[in-house]
Symmetry: C2
Subunit: 233 residues, 2 copies
DNA sequence: CATTTCCTCCATCCAAGGATTTACATCACA
DNA sequence: TGTGATGTAAATCCTTGGATGGAGGAAATG
């Protein structure tokens, strides 16, 4: 590893602002560790270039009018070309950052940042790491934690699922898999009428009128989570 | 802000290893910017101390036999005391890190880390930031992105939902809210028989046998996401 | 021991759901 | 202009689902 000479990382630049694109290109070209294999102002063209050249690294502006940069990232990720993508943006919007990372961006940097930082980020990402400026990673975590708050709030207070008996949970699980009475009876080795009894009890306890509502209640109130928790405990 | 004298952050320490607990306590006590208001080897006791003293900062060992530290974090977060919690762990397990951050930890540090780094992390978190050592944040992001890969893979390839007409989507949405034929007819101002027609078409297109399966297909294949995407587009 | 909870099962009845076919109006697009 | 896709609607027939009440056995709990 130490003696291995460092291959230049091949970079593709996508930014609809041609001035900015030119600027970045010059900057990156000057850098000995990178090799710019393409630069375009069109997201669609960029996707094609990515397919063609399979760069190691892609710098993608995500604030483009024509085609959403996030969508472009998603499409490239789907192609599974092994490119690592850094999102470029003018805004440190936490929702944007979150969405970019969610769909697979390995870095997120602001256009206002110093060029040295851009190069540093590119080095990091090219070497397999993930790069988020600390200011942005804070925002990211805030958003991340917010987005899970509701989910954690589940099971909270009165969750009607807690009133179900073991057998009723089994039946409900099979319901949440789309089984009808007959199928459930078969899988639990009990009669169909017994299943009906259980299902009726479930309806009473969950205060719903039919199986679909029961299934929805279960899914919306962490039924899967609850079970996972029990299993891992 | 600059002239404001910095109030000492009040800290609660929870670690079932009494030796380690004592060590941390000494270390933190020496630090002029912190005030140790409590230290205990019991998670349950720790929760009570948190309620009583409402510390600014909690250092919580998450590898405890008696009670799971993650669970303790969750309980404290539910109390909404305004404490910021740092998870302490011996392992840099990405799943653990992810779960800790998910339930609201504002930092995650390894017991093997230098004490200076611990103090730095405490300072950062106490001042409202989130702290993850860069090595761990890489792991976190890997896990984060993995956990969304499936979700992004949806809509991929053949998603039967794409074959639905606009009206069918409306009907399906009402189905996913637990409505029966009559309710749907009422909400869409069409006859019940028409709803049946649509629903039957939906079943055909989604290749399912009943409404529950249709709802499950919709939910599992990003029906909500799809709609959100359309709305924001 | 008595009581309760849970699981099992049945019968009955009615409502709702689902399959199939046919039909007509509209609209877009070739 | 007509051909296809869509949205609307109905009739029919059968299946499934859901409500209700009753009942017995097993196990736990007091």
């Amino acid at each position: 590893m130490m003696r291995e000479f460092k291959r230049k990382a091949r970079v593709l630049l996508i930014d609809d602002n041609s001035d900015h694109l030119r600027g970045i290109k010059e900057l990156v070209t000057l850098e000995s560790s990178f090799d710019v294999v393409g630069a375009t102002t069109s997201a669609n063209l960029g996707i094609n270039l990515a397919k063609k050249y399979r760069p190691d690294l892609i710098l993608m502006d995500i604030n483009m009018p024509e085609k959403d940069g996030l969508q472009a990232i998603q499409e490239i990720e789907k192609l599974d070309l092994g490119c690592r993508i850094i999102a470029l943006s003018g805004y440190d919007d936490s929702d944007l950052i979150f969405r970019a990372m969610k769909i697979g961006a390995k870095g997120y940097i602001l256009k206002t940042m110093a060029s040295a930082q851009l190069i540093y980020a590119m080095d990091e990402v090219a070497s397999g790491k993930v790069y988020l400026p600390s200011a942005l990673s804070s925002r990211f975590f805030e958003y991340f934690q917010d987005s899970y708050k509701e989910e954690n709030a589940i099971s909270e207070e009165e969750n009607l699922l807690t009133y179900l008996t073991g057998r009723e949970e089994e039946v409900l699980e099979l319901l949440t898999q789309g089984n009808n009475y007959k199928a459930i009876a078969g899988k639990l080795f009990i009669s169909e009428t017994t299943v009906k009894t259980h299902v009726n009890n479930i309806f009473q306890k969950l205060q719903v009128n039919d199986r679909t509502q029961a299934v929805l209640y279960a899914l919306n109130n962490g039924f899967a989570n609850r079970k996972r928790a029990k299993l891992t405990a």
